[in-house]
Amino acid sequence: MRKAEKMRIVIACIAGALLFTIVSARLVHLHVSKHAEYSRIAAEKNTFRQVIPAKRGLILDRNGDKLAVNLPVHTVFADASHIKDAEALSELIARYLGLKQSEVSQKIGTGGKYLVLKRKVPDETVLKMQAEMSKRNLRGVYTKIDSIRAYPNNSMLGHVLGYLNHERKGVQGIERTMEKHLAGEDGFRYTERDRRGREIVLYRGQEQEAKHGKNIRLTIDMGLQAILEEEIDATYRDLKPHTVNAIMVDPKTGEILAMASRPCFDPNKPGSSDPETMKNRSIIDMVEPGSTFKIVVAAGALNEGKVDEKSSIFCENGRFFYAGRTLKDLHGHGHMNVHDILVKSSNIGCAKMALMMGGEKFHEYVRRFGFGERLGIDLPGEIPGLVHPPSRWDKLTITRMPMGHSVAVTPLQITMGMSVIANGGDLMAPQIVKSVESQDGAVERQQPKVVREVIPEKTAHFISNALSGVTQTGGTATFARVNGFNVAGKTGTAQKVSEKGGYAPGKYVVSFVGYMPAEDPRFVCLVMVDDAQISSGLNYGGLVAAPIFSRIAERSARHLDLVPTQPAIALQPDPITALFDAEEATR
């Protein structure tokens, strides 16, 4: 072989080796050095994070009735890059979704990959639409499953349940306070799509299952809630008050059995509701409680030994001049014991008991009954009310506060305060959530909680006996009686505080808070009517609120199957019902 030939072979070999070395080097560069970068680009192109939505937990009443459920709906969207026959597709979509065809065509024409056509489309519509698309071989429109919250009882219990915002976060009621339990946690899955956008199951990567929300079982009994709502609805319709509140509580456990306010709203349509109607007035409204507050001073004075069961207090024949002002009773009374002071609802008798106790001690009992503090109910927005310390009182406060003036409390506080008497002296924490139940059946029960012992059982029983007298002949709330049962309670009539200061003439907040059966109370119920459109002569707690209590208690006794313990008596129709019956007859 000649030298030149050998040289050419060597050069060719070197060139070949060099070429392979370059290609190999490039491959090593791509596979090793650039591995992370190209893997990321490939993953971005094909891999996507698929969200596995968690189901929101249900809200149930104490018997398992569903109060808030999830309704599956779809978000319909188009991927314009997959659409071949835009005209036919837009006609079909517009027909099923109730949109204008021009509107759909315009959206598709923008060429986007995620064009939302309509949200909250019902399941059956989507199924029909997809069937026709498949039949006509049209593609490019997809759906994403979503769900909306539905409240089957409409406005009933709306204030307690609350509602969700557009991000499916609770913004009011139980939906808000129990958000962390109800919401659950969305899962996810990394997976890849083929060129048609379908998931390639084989290439599923990291995956985390969704943690579904827990169900919340409330202490509410929908049977009692329906009774309560029907009665306050009738009151709201007939008496046209500014607001009506009613709360029913189990005094032994603090469980809220029913809670309603008027005006109310439908949580299915929060957007179209007036914000004023969305307030749960049982926990966010402050009112002067009126005479229902007299139980505090009576209990305090008895417990502190300032008076006993036989003590006689001179009630000044209805006019008590103190600190330059005259305190009056509706009817003049002479000497009365504590029992009679409560039965006759003497302002002067209560003022004198407070004077015997002194401001500091009386204030201490007001606070021990739970007034001036948040009771800690699992509902948002609860206010503490307003109880000034004795250092900020004027000379008249000590005679006005015992009859429920110069103090502002929530309807819930009044109900829980009366529960102290009903259960033998303990202030219970109001409980609205009975249990939190996981999807796997685990149940976390919420236990009744005693906040504090306010008064001993003996004092509570004495006050309870006096409160039973309130509904008997000669008491202020005879219309609160229920056939077959011993009812205990207290009326309240307070002039409404004017927005301009002072009291608004002719406007009253009337209430009755009572319990039944008095010997072994199954429920405490408050009815509060704010500014009923009725003559001042009839606008008293004993005439307006007590009959409503009576009707609620009578129907509740049937619902709870309570055993009657008292003989039947002929009950007089209350004057307001008689008034409406007479009006009805003349029409």
Binding site: P72, V201, D561
Partner: protein, 126 residues
């Protein structure tokens, strides 16, 4: 001259070594079979994955339809709806008379007349 170093006579010797050929053919068949099996298994995986996807979709559809039905049942059996049906006279509520109520614990009667009241529906008894 060593006979082993003599060039083979094409007419008396076989240049194809059968044993080696068989080995290579067997190896090729084996590799081919492995390749085909890999393709088959991969294909099966895709088919099964597709079935999984379809089944998951069916399950999701059934669950979603079930939820729709549960919501409908809840709505139809809700108190306002039942109340509406009663007022429209689509359904009627028949009061249960006291003598039809079976009690685990007999109710205590009232002291004076021994008549059951509250839970006893006097109107329907007449």
């Amino acid at each position: 001259m060593n006979p082993a170093l003599q060039p083979a006579n094409p007419q008396t010797s076989n240049p194809i070594q059968a044993a080696n050929l068989v080995k290579f053919v067997a190896l090729a068949i084996l590799l081919g079979a492995i390749g085909l099996a890999y393709v088959f298994v991969k294909n099966q995986q895709f088919v099964l994955a597709e079935q999984i996807r379809k089944t998951e979709r069916q399950i999701r559809d059934v669950q979603s339809r079930n939820e729709v039905l549960v919501a409908k049942v809840t709505e139809l059996s809700s108190r306002p709806m039942l109340q509406k049906r009663v007022s429209e006279k689509f359904i009627a509520v028949v009061a249960i008379t006291g003598d039809k109520i079976a009690r685990l614990t007999p109710p205590a009667t009232a002291v004076a007349d021994g008549v059951m009241r509250t839970a006893f529906n006097s109107e329907s008894a007449q």
